[in-house]
Structure formats: C-alpha cells, structure tokens
Symmetry: C2
Subunit: 231 residues, 2 copies
C-alpha cells in the first residue's frame, strides 16, 4: 500500500530482478534514490546480484547512498510497497499466482511481453486473458495491476555510461491513483516520462509493440524505444 | 507496379480519400509533390474534395503545382501505382475485396485500425486474420500489402499552419522492396521518417496502438504520435 506517500518514499520490489530488464530498472531507479528489493527464486544468487547492482548504482549516483537488497520473490513481494513483475512470460502465470497473498493490497507493475521466436523472428503469443497485465490482474484480484516499462531497452538501462535515457513509458491501467504513482515512478528514470496510455484492456498492443522494437533493433542495429509526440 | 521507379514518380491512390485520414495524407503528400488520386464510392463528392485538397496543398507548397484528382475507388485503384487504403474498419473487407483485380501487382498500404467504442472508450476489435493488414493481404493475394500510417493524427495532417510534423511512420510487411518504397513515401511527409517495424504478422499491435494514442489524446488534450528512439 502506498498510503498516499510520495513515490520517493516507496520501497520498490522487482520480481525477476536478476534478469536483464529487472536489473536494468533496479539500477536506474536505485541510482535515482529509490529503495529497491531485488527478488528471485534463488535468494542467494539474488543477494550477490543485488550487491553488484548497488555498487553500480552508487557509482552512477556519484557516490550517494543507494539501497538495493536481494531476497526470495515471496519475501520481496511481502516487504515492498510496490512491486514490478519482470519475469519471462513462460513463468509469468505461475510466479504471479504464487505471490497473490503477499501482493494483496499493493500496486503491481507488469512489464512482461508475451513473445515467442521462430525462424521468421519474434511474434506475439496469444494470452487467454488478453495480455500479460490482464493475466496478472486475473490472478491478483486483491492487487492493483498496472502495465508499464515494456519498451525500455535493458541494454540501455544497464549502460550507466549514458546518464540520460530517451523515451517514454506507456502506462496502462484502470485505477487513477495507481496510474499516477506508476507514472511518477517512471518519471524517476532520467530523461523519461510516464505517459497515461489507456485502460488495462488495451495493454496487449503496448506489450506486443516490444516485438516490433525487436525488429527495429535488428534492422537498424539500435536499442529502440518509444517517444510519444505532442505530449 | 513501381518498376524500380523512384517514389517521387509514383502516382499514389488513396481509397477512402474523403475521410480525415485519407484527406490528411493526401494533402501532405500532394504538397510534397506526390501525384495523388483520391478515391471514394461517390466519385462526384470526391472530385469536389480533391479540388479542395489541391487548393490547400498548392498553398502549402508555396504555389507550386500539385496534382490531386478525385474519382471512384475502382478507377483510382486501377490508375494508381501504389494505393493507400484509409477506410473505416467496418467497410474494410468488402471494399478491399471488390478492388482485388485493379490492385493486382501493386503495393497496397493499409492504414486501417480495427477499433470499437463503448462506454469505457476505445478498444481493439479482433480480426480473424490477425490484423487489418493481414486481412487485406488475404483478400489481395496478387498485391503486395504493407501496413503503415496508423499513428498520424488526421488533425495535424490537415493543419497546414504547421509545416512540419513530429513522429515516425512504423512500416510492417514482408517484401523488402515494397517496404523500402513505403518507407520512402513516409519520408516525404515533412519531419517524418518511415521506420521498418517488422513483418506483417506483427501488424496487429501497430494498428491497435492507435487506440492507446486515442487515450493519450483524451488525457493530455493532445494529437499524439510515435517517435522511435535510437534510430
């Protein structure tokens, strides 16, 4: 629960925090002063990675104190105020389902992209609930699920030699207060804005657009993101 | 057929050319020097609108000669080198099916967004073929279907007081030469680029993202578009 606290005060948990997307979000948010709990199935490995992330975030923050701690997913889900789910789609439903109890009453930010690969490249996987975010919402009836952080290149997030990022975070969801919080959190990433981009039922295309960005990356040897114009 | 000609040489037909999106694309492309055939079911109404578009394009082009002619969809489809389909989704399948013969051998650019409205706002309509562009491809087996021009605000396209637009055109398709042509055509819109954004099977989310831009527009009182970063 955020209890009306400013976003700077919130402890942010990252489920799947040892993957590139989770690590990248963690290091940038930690460098911006956000307290971070990195979660993984393997708590020991996660503590080691959390220490590395903390070291890199401290350096990026010019030596300022940062807070990154590792732990098991279930403990992170219980201790954090707001939780980002950054797991591969293959494990998404099971991991989310197991965490329903500790995630109750919290904002859960889903950044998962249901994506498969074949000889023609990447393609969108159909999700019975419509999207990964809607699947999370169905499995977490007592949480407030928001979709965000799909279009951010993990490579650029982790490349701290570039202090500023370029792009926007499209945020989808149905609860205005939760959206405001997640947009403010996105705005803590240097150079980025959190942009309201519609209801949760329109999450699918936001998630799947990441697949088109994969094609952009291959064609242009880029780490593409999205900027919303005229806002 | 484009026969290897430069994009500037191509006569561009716009099916549904009397709607806001078709008219907006037509006036901007005409002002950039593209020869345009505006198509509609009602050829007489279309001739009147073509004359208005020509007048506005001439003014935007600083008095340079422009070429905009109106006609029936079937005649436009037959006479143009490349055809943009800018019709409401409700009429999409029928209109495209009827034009299969005159469109054979041509590049067909589909910019249709399958979108419905209810009390919660806009939502994506499921298309049996996956997307409007894939539907067009299924109905036009002898044409080369490309998806593009979804994220452009008709209001901004028609607002010639702003000489430059801000945003990119995401282009999806399976034929490299056709993609190159459509990207080059998109690049004729002032301030815009045509960006390769993957295969036709990944058209759905490009189309449907327009629905999220509708939400952005309502929230921010904007005419939102998309810019692809790091390209």
């Amino acid at each position: 629960m955020t209890d009306g606290r400013a976003v700077e005060e919130l402890v942010v948990g990252v489920i799947g925090g040892t993957g590139p997307q989770g690590r990248g979000l963690a290091v940038r948010l930690a460098a911006a002063g956000q307290r971070i709990l990195l979660g993984s199935r393997d708590a020991e490995k996660c503590s080691r990675i959390a220490a590395e992330v903390a070291e890199r975030a401290t350096s990026a923050a010019g030596g300022a104190e940062v807070s990154v701690t590792g732990g098991a997913n279930v403990d992170v889900a219980g201790a954090a105020d707001l939780v980002i789910v950054a797991v591969p789609y293959a494990g998404h439903a099971n991991i989310v389902r197991e965490l329903a109890e500790p995630l109750a009453g919290k904002i859960v930010v889903d950044c998962v992209v249901p994506m498969g690969w074949d000889e023609l490249g990447a393609y969108a996987i159909d999700v019975p609930e419509g999207s990964a975010a809607q699947q999370a919402a169905a499995l977490l009836p007592d949480s407030n699920v928001v979709g965000a952080f799909h279009h951010l290149s993990a490579t650029l997030l982790e490349d701290l030699s570039k202090p500023t990022l370029d792009g926007d975070v499209m945020v989808v969801g149905d609860d205005r207060a939760a959206m405001d919080t997640v947009q403010a959190l996105a705005g803590r990433l240097p150079g980025m804005r959190g942009i309201y981009a519609g209801r949760l039922r329109n999450a699918r295309q936001v998630e799947a657009l990441t697949i088109n960005l994969v094609s952009v990356n291959r064609r242009y040897k880029a780490h593409a993101g999205i900027r919303v114009t005229d806002v």
